[in-house]
Amino acid sequence: MTMTEIAGVAVERDAEGFLVYPEDWNRVLAEDIARENGIPELTPRHWQVVEFMRERYLETGTAPSIRSLGKESGVPIKELYQLFPKGPAKLAAKIGGIPKPRGCI
């Protein structure tokens, strides 16, 4: 785990860049993490996914999978891959300041 400064604030992140404490998160921080990961600007469609992820995590304690996102976030899977290239669930979680989806076992 490392302390890094994003948006002028020191936050603790894990080796892959996920926030260690979801309560450190704010929208400016999200924009910064997005830029670090090759997304120059968060559009309203990005925010729809990021906010859905974050709410779901705070409600249930787990981040939704890509299939759940496709079924419930209002953004179809194809578009999720366009918005968050490579791994939408992983990247949206990172931007949303929640732990990496536990994924699959």
Partner: protein, 422 residues
């Protein structure tokens, strides 16, 4: 008289019915098992059918005959569970009231959820071995296959027995070598994961085995479309993998009635379940085990088996008004068939990933995460244990429901959760 209703007469439902029948006399509790048919499939055997190493009639037996006397077996589709009324409504019109409900209806394959997969070419050049008809059709297709690109794929997690598609790739390498045409077959393993398997140390070993056997590994490939006419898999991010023959594991969901039962399941019809007590989050008198739950461990028969002891204890405690103390640790144990008469063995739980070493303890005899003939024999012997020890609800000698650290080699090198070595 307590009423225990068990939905599903597969591995978990059968084992739980038999275990609970031993706990309660017939005048203390009525036990009813519901399933849509009377065919109990030994699912690990499905892997062998495509290669002609097992036939369907060797791996299917009547469900009813696996249940002890004094258990009522009811054949019907389930319409829905009315949680608020403690009742199960069946499609045949009957209603089953319960004091305790156990959900053990496993998963349902959903190939139609992937665009194109059930279109042209389905069951002609695109197959799954995850059900009996599919495994039999694939046996005929493999027999007729005399060269070209064979792609082994899983669409997305979670799937039953996450090692099975890897085993399929290993056995395909052996099968074509036996037939003398291995050099005419291009084998490719296509996975949405970032490695061959979900857990880092095992993933690395299994990726090594794929490479040794000349199987190309394509990772982070999330299938958006299966094009049977064009013979290609297309990922959501628009990459393509061509195939002449596709062996895929379709998307999984919980049983359809779970989705029709208000409050019982999540958006994929899995039952949210407390991972240690196996009590559902829906209602205190509803429990779940095996593939039907959302607990964070592999969907596998061994998991279901190891869950049995804790769940039996908790059902007993619940019915007598005591606090739940039975605790499942996420123990899973899988043989991984690697071809040429050998297999690996992995043993893990919620907290400990599969490690090398020996099983069941430091003196063995079975090596962990290493190929051996003994593991292969273990895998073959397991079929007998399944019908004669696991389903009747007996413990298997020498194998504890909780995972043992004894025999496992702890890894000094730190491995991050995501599978990347630092």
């Amino acid at each position: 008289m307590k009423r225990i209703v068990i939905l599903g007469g597969g591995t978990g439902g059968t084992m739980m019915a038999n275990r609970l029948r031993r706990v309660y006399d017939e005048d203390e509790a009525a036990i009813t098992v519901v399933d849509k048919d009377d065919r109990h499939v030994y699912q690990p055997g499905l892997l062998f059918v495509p290669f002609g190493l097992a036939s369907a009639d060797e791996i299917v037996r009547p469900r009813r005959r696996q249940l002890r006397s004094g258990i009522d077996f009811h054949v019907s589709e389930i319409d829905h569970v009315a949680l608020a009324k403690d009742q199960v409504h069946l499609v045949d019109g009957s209603t089953l009231p319960y004091d305790v409900l156990i959900v053990a209806t496993g998963v349902t394959l959903r190939p139609e959820e992937t665009e194109g997969l059930t279109g042209p070419g389905w069951r002609e050049r695109m197959f799954t071995f995850y059900d009996v008809p599919g495994a039999e059709q694939l046996a005929r297709a493999l027999d007729a296959f005399d060269g070209g690109r064979l792609v082994v794929n899983l669409i997305d997690m979670p799937i039953k027995c996450p090692v099975a598609p890897l085993e399929f790739a290993f056995l395909a390498d052996w099968y074509f070598a036996e037939r003398g045409i291995r050099d005419r077959v291009e084998l490719t393993y296509v996975t949405p994961l970032d490695g061959a398997f979900t857990k880092p140390i095992a993933s690395e070993r299994l990726a090594g085995l794929l490479a040794e056997k000349g199987v190309e590994l394509v990772t982070e490939f999330a299938v958006g479309e299966a094009d049977g006419e064009g013979g290609r898999l297309v990922s959501w991010d628009e990459r393509e993998v061509p195939f002449d023959l596709l062996v895929t594991v379709p998307l999984h969901e919980g049983a359809p009635y779970v989705g029709r039962s208000e409050g019982l399941g999540d958006e994929l019809a899995f039952v949210p379940t407390e991972p240690h007590t196996l009590q559902s989050l829906a209602r205190p008198n509803v429990f779940a085990l095996g593939d039907a739950t959302n607990v964070p461990i592999s969907k596998a028969g061994s998991v279901t088996h190891f869950e049995g002891e804790a769940l039996t204890e908790n059902v007993r405690r619940f019915l007598s008004g005591e606090a739940l103390e039975g605790s499942y640790d996420g123990h899973a144990n899988c043989f991984i068939e690697t071809g040429f008469g050998k297999a690996l063995l992995i043993d893990f739980n919620y907290d400990t990933e599969p490690l090398p070493g020996r099983f069941p303890n430091a003196v063995g005899p079975l090596p962990l995460l290493r190929e051996s003939r003994l593991n292969h024999l273990g895998k073959l012997m397991f079929q007998w244990l399944y019908w004669h020890a696991l389903l009747p609800g007996r413990d298997i000698p020498g194998i504890s429901p909780s995972m043992e650290m004894s025999g496992k080699e702890r890894q000094l090198e730190h491995v991050s959760e995501g599978g990347e070595r630092r």
